[in-house]
């Protein structure tokens, strides 16, 4: 076979040839199921633009994106940071960006990594299937941008900006974790939007019903709670129940909530997503080499870049900044393949279900049905724990010393695996905060409840800032209680309603 290219320069024809060769390996040989692919060649500046709008091709305007842009631009210009060579968008067609500055090898790497690796993950993983609708996201963002732009014209940039600030502060609390959402669909959104605006306002709720309809039943209703059950989706609750919001404000809350929902799967599948894409670029390009389609020089350049990506500095290193999701994810998928193809006795004991099975099917199953937390607790093998030299460090504020609670030995494998999995559990990573109650009889004070996990307190400073935002949205006083597992209130925060509410 003649190599596709020998130099480092790329051309559009070369990209097309690489794409065709990669597709042959990925789709025909390895049966990856992918969305249609759109490769877009862009410049470094455009890459920075893409960066700062969280990778989305269109997005509404907000200063925080400008802040990211300014920061990215600064560190890029000073050479402190190279631009990541890939951004890929979970949409159909799946858009992958190729940066002009990259060599032919890097373009091939990005195509394999993003356009086939990430793409197939987006299409296959259950979280993405349940939470996002790839074919509609770009349209929805267009709609959001237009709508917010119109609001800016009508109500002023500042009013919209303040509202967005407040919503962004709650972005991580705009998701129903346990309830399957409806998919985003632009057509439905639009059709329902106008209707909703009018209807919502009439619905705003029990809060305005100051005169009980039936005086006699007052006693029975007095004890009724609102909301009747704690609500985990703060943005949804605000959208539906905040008494003073205007219809357009509710719509913007909804937009932020919908976009938060779109990113929710990504936050939960970092290790898997990057691991999967890295596994495939490695597997595909190695296969191309076996077929003689790429040169030794190509492989050297590719492997150098690949090694950097999957490097995991040890905890003692100056470069250590947590576990590298690329490293862990790549190692795990490689390891699953190893267990399928060449299991040891240990593997047979630990993974009787998969040891010796066809690796491609096992990998596909793992990719489709897990998120980081469950993926790790299911598939992290003792061998990997040993390879990474994982250990757990117990830090209890009631103990004056730190304690090594488990290491990579027979006794510690399960504990390390369990703890590492928990580290990727959004529920324990982020404080668990829910809407607890609204005082409907008096001051409409909103009470939120933070259920403490392992006695971990909230960070006071940021909590107060976020509460100010909530008070701005809610329009009345807001209270937050930190509740220990035994039900006692450990700490509470209170924010008065802003003197000047957002309502007009």
């Amino acid at each position: 076979m003649i190599p596709i290219s020998t130099g480092s320069e790329w051309t559009f024809d070369l990209i097309a040839e690489y794409d065709a060769a990669i597709r042959e390996v990925a789709v025909d040989e390895f049966k990856l199921d992918v969305y249609p692919i759109q490769l877009e060649v862009i410049t470094a500046e455009q890459m920075m633009d893409a960066y700062s709008s969280v990778g989305m091709p269109v997005n509404y305007h907000h200063w925080s994106f400008g802040k990211h842009f300014v920061a990215t631009e600064k560190s890029y210009k000073r050479g402190q940071m190279g631009l990541a060579y890939e951004i890929v968008i979970n949409s159909s067609p799946c858009i992958a960006y190729l940066m002009e500055e990259n060599s032919a090898t890097m373009q091939a790497l990005v195509i394999a990594h993003a356009a086939y690796g990430h793409n197939s993950f987006f299409k296959g993983n259950y979280l993405f299937r349940a939470w996002t609708d790839a074919s509609d996201i770009v349209d929805y963002l267009m709609f959001a941008k237009q709508y917010i732009g119109q609001c800016e014209e009508r109500y002023g940039i500042s009013a919209v900006e303040e509202l967005l600030d407040s919503c962004h502060a709650l972005m991580n609390y705009g998701v129903d974790r346990y309830k399957r959402p409806e998919k985003l669909s632009l057509a439905q959104e639009k059709a329902r939007q106008t209707e909703r605006e009018q209807y919502l306002q009439t619905q705003v709720n029990d809060l305005w019903r100051t005169i009980p309809k039936r005086e006699r039943d007052a006693g029975a209703h007095a004890a009724q709670r609102f909301p009747s059950e704690p609500q985990e989706n703060l943005l949804y609750f605000i959208e539906k129940a905040a008494p003073l919001l205007e219809p357009w404000q509710r719509e913007i809350v909804r937009i932020v909530r919908k976009i938060a929902q779109y990113f929710y799967p990504q936050r939960q599948t970092q290790v898997m997503n990057e691991g999967w894409a890295t596994f495939w670029h490695y597997t595909i390009l190695t296969r191309l080499y076996d077929k003689g389609l790429v040169t030794d020089g190509f492989m050297m350049e590719f492997l150098q870049s690949h090694t950097n990506v999957v490097a995991q500095p040890p905890v003692t290193s100056n470069w250590y900044s947590g576990i590298n999701p690329y490293a862990l994810g790549f190692a795990m998928f490689q390891d699953i393949r190893r267990i399928c193809e060449a299991p040891t006795d240990e593997d047979r004991a630990w993974f009787p279900d998969i040891a010796g099975t066809p690796w491609r099917d096992t990998l596909e199953f793992a990719m489709k049905n897990f998120k980081d937390e469950s993926f790790i607790s299911q598939y992290l093998s003792p061998k990997l724990i040993r390879d990474f030299h994982f250990f757990a460090l117990r830090d209890d504020d009631r103990d004056d010393k730190l304690e090594i609670s488990a290491i990579h030995d027979e006794e510690g494998y399960r504990k390390v695996r369990e703890l590492l999995a928990d580290q990727y559990n959004l529920g324990s990573r982020e404080p668990n905060i829910q809407v607890w109650s609204v005082n409907m009889r008096k001051d409409r004070c909103l009470t939120l409840r933070h259920t403490m996990h392992n006695r971990r307190p909230l960070d006071r400073g940021s909590a107060c800032e976020v509460l100010k935002h909530i008070a701005r949205l809610w329009g009345f006083d807001v209270r937050l209680e930190s509740v220990d597992t035994d039900g006692s209130v450990r700490e509470h925060f209170e924010i008065k309603a802003p003197a000047e509410t957002m309502a007009y």
Binding site: E45, G66, F69, K77, D397, L419, D459
Partner: protein, 425 residues
């Protein structure tokens, strides 16, 4: 097959709006940072952008997160010597808690500054935001006295000095060709007839004589066509167009008597720098005149102006007189916009103050676009201040301020050049 699209030619400044939003949002902090930067700059170093830092906590986007405390049990890679049950001292600086996801340090608060580059333009815009030179707009839009003559084609009349020779002769030539054409045709015909008659050899004396007479007449007629005619003359046309004057002179007047110490001079310098910066934005060309004075005034270069120190008393009018002379000698006429900035600690020889006010009113204020006076003093105003106050009441483009510390300079500057109502629009 993948769809490959070349997007490189699409606009690259997609983030421009967001960047502008960011600047707008943190206008206050950015302005403070710019004001701080100005203090550290020298007068020659104003034409560049600036790295601006604003406190991270001002621009952070808050979100609920865990604080320190409680139980954490993170997993780390790279164990070397630990075994289960090892107990380690807690690292100082609170590294232990909160590192659950390994990200806490990244978005932790800290007192770091968020630094970024402001382009020169943005820097200047922030600095001069909502400032405008008093009367500047007026001078440019209504009070134009400077006229410039520009070419505007050719006309049929004018003074002989403006005759355009090429154009005139070209006109003359074409006129001659045009006027001669019918006569020449007739002449050719007559000569041909004459030749025919002569060749025929017939005796037709009468006819021939007639032809000759006619040819002669036609020749005379041709000769009578004038080489040049008043009708041919073309004159260069010049019209006068009003042009805004684009040059300014800035007078820096400073008291360097014993009572002006280094700190006060430093403050005065900053005041001059700010005025200079502002003029530079408005005018193509600015000349600087430095006049320092104690009991007598002298024009000096910039270095001497700021760095030498004299002792003795103070006669402010000496500087004003010198400025008056310099204006008359070098900056007379309407092509110069004259600005003056005077800094002093307020000391003056008592009977001189009234004199100063008189010079200002009669000689300087009428020729100046703007005259600014700052008094750098901790104490009570003295009689110079009171005399100047009277001037201020009478003239809109005279301004005065008292400043006490370096921190007052920026606000004073703004005050001095605050948009005057009715002028800006």
């Amino acid at each position: 097959m993948a769809n490959i699209i070349d997007r490189r030619l699409n606009g690259k400044n997609k983030s421009a709006v967001n960047r502008e939003r960011f600047l707008r949002r943190f206008k206050g902090q950015i302005k403070d940072a710019v004001a701080k930067a100005i203090k550290g700059r020298s007068i020659t170093d104003i034409e560049s952008g600036e790295t601006i830092s604003i406190p991270v906590k001002d621009i952070s986007e808050p979100a609920f997160r865990h604080g320190k405390g409680g139980v954490w049990e993170p997993v780390h890679p790279g164990n070397q010597e630990f075994v289960k049950g090892d107990r380690l001292p807690r690292p100082q600086g609170g590294g232990g808690g909160g590192s659950g996801s390994g990200k806490a340090s990244q978005d932790g608060e800290g007192e770091d500054a968020f630094a970024f580059e402001l382009s020169r333009e943005e820097f200047m815009n922030v600095f001069f935001d909502d400032l405008a030179l008093p009367n500047l707009v007026k001078t440019q839009l209504t009070g134009i006295t400077e006229m410039k003559t520009v070419r505007a084609g050719f006309t049929n009349d004018g003074t002989p000095a403006n005759i355009n020779i090429v154009r005139s002769l070209r006109g003359a030539l074409s006129r001659r060709i045009a006027m001669a054409a019918p006569t020449l045709t007739e002449l050719d015909e007559s000569e041909e007839e004459l030749d025919e008659l002569m060749e025929s050899g017939m005796e037709a004396d009468l006819d021939m004589r007639e032809r000759r007479r006619r040819i002669h007449m036609l020749r005379e007629k041709l000769a009578a066509i004038p080489f040049i005619d008043p009708f041919d003359l073309r004159y260069n046309n010049r019209v006068k167009q009003p042009t805004p004057s684009s040059q300014a002179v800035m007078f820096c007047l400073m008291d360097v008597s014993g009572s002006m110490d280094e700190q006060k001079k430093d403050m005065a310098k900053r005041f001059f720098i700010l005025l200079y910066l502002f003029l530079q934005r408005t005018y193509d060309k600015i000349e600087l005149v430095f006049i320092r004075h104690h009991t007598s005034a002298v024009e000096v270069n910039e270095h001497d102006f700021f760095h030498s120190r004299e002792s003795g008393g103070t006669v402010v009018s000496s500087a004003l007189n010198l400025m008056k002379e310099v204006v008359q000698k070098r900056y007379a006429g309407s092509e110069w916009n004259i600005y003056a900035a005077q800094a002093s600690d307020g000391d003056n020889w008592d009977s001189d103050s009234a004199n100063c006010a008189r010079i200002l009113e009669t000689a300087l204020i009428p020729v100046c676009q703007y005259y600014a006076y700052i008094e750098i003093t901790e104490g009570e105003p003295q009689n110079l201040w009171y005399e100047y106050l009277k001037v201020k009441d009478a003239h809109k483009h005279f301004a005065m301020q008292k400043i006490r510390s370096a921190a007052d300079i920026y606000p004073v500057f703004r005050e001095l050049f605050k948009k005057q109502q009715g002028v800006s629009k």
